[in-house]
Amino acid sequence: MTRTTRLCTMALLVAAFALTALAADNNIDAAKSTLIATFKQEGVPVDAPFKTFSGRIVYDPANVAAASAALDVDTASLDIGDDAYSAEVRKKAWFDSAAFPKATFRSTAIKAGAAGHFDATGTLTVKGKALTVTVPLTTQNVAGGTAFDGSFAISRKAFGIGDPTWNDVLDDSVKVRFHLVSSNH
């Protein structure tokens, strides 16, 4: 075994370990959580779930200032109903999932409001574009963890999702609503 191969193997092992650690960081129970984008076409609201996402929410009611949320969403997992249409929105003009497989949210500040209400400000990155969003949410204790519920609207145009020829039939504003259940560790 040459020195180079040895080094490569080492690097790979370290990388694999880092990835495992990252995956273990996920504390969102995907089976109990939902992330739904509601788009509107000619007045028809359509609920489209993202099937695959993971992340980590750190939350201690006694120390809200230290709370944080990170979410990674597989853009290719958006199910808009018919399979042919779901395949369409993975294309370049829409999410361009081949080039941008993940949409991410990283909180930068969590502020407490009325009991159980919060404002999570953070960076939302979709299709390579990073924008600051503030998401109002509520928390409640559930078996084995905490549930976070909220919704916010994003502009397709702001992230370059869908070319302008669609604007007559498809609203620019897309509502995103989530119900995320994280275990408390």
Binding site: Q41, E42, V44, G81, D82, V169
Partner: protein
Amino acid sequence: MNEQHIGIAVRQRIAITRAPEHYTRTAVALHWTIAGLVICGFTLGWVMTELAISPLKLRMYNWHKWIGITVLSLAAVRGIWRLTHTAPALLPMPGWQRISAHGLHGLLYVIMFLQPLSGWAYSNAVGYPIVYLGLVPLPNLVSKDKALAHTLLEVHETVAWILAVAVALHALAALKHHFMDRDGTLKRMLSWRSSRT
């Protein structure tokens, strides 16, 4: 009650139960409006499914759905009208034709309800509510369910072809009555001079 009275009662009874000779204007209007909408809906349905995904395709799906809901509503009105107004009897024809005519009319009535309903349910099963004319949200008949959507699409497509064949037979039979038998079957559905509304 003397014989004269009985005679009047019998004549009145005959007058009530005897079928009219003409269709009411309402029945004629409903027949042709639904016929036109069904032909548009069928053609749209065929064309839109062949198109690649585009804004126009989405629009056509919406038009198709709105046409279907309109047909369903008119079919309900027509059904009620038919139950409350006696339709003219079939003109003299052989027994097999009489049975076929009644069977085909029954089938067309069933399809007028079944086809819009299966389409409505299919749309819901895929996860698309129906908003009539983009304005009136209709309740979902079923919730989102991929397997159910697949079945409902097959039902909708199969019924579409049965509908096409049934309409073709219906039209051919009307033309046969008009040009070969030279009776008033087609004319009375085209007639607007009915004495009754």
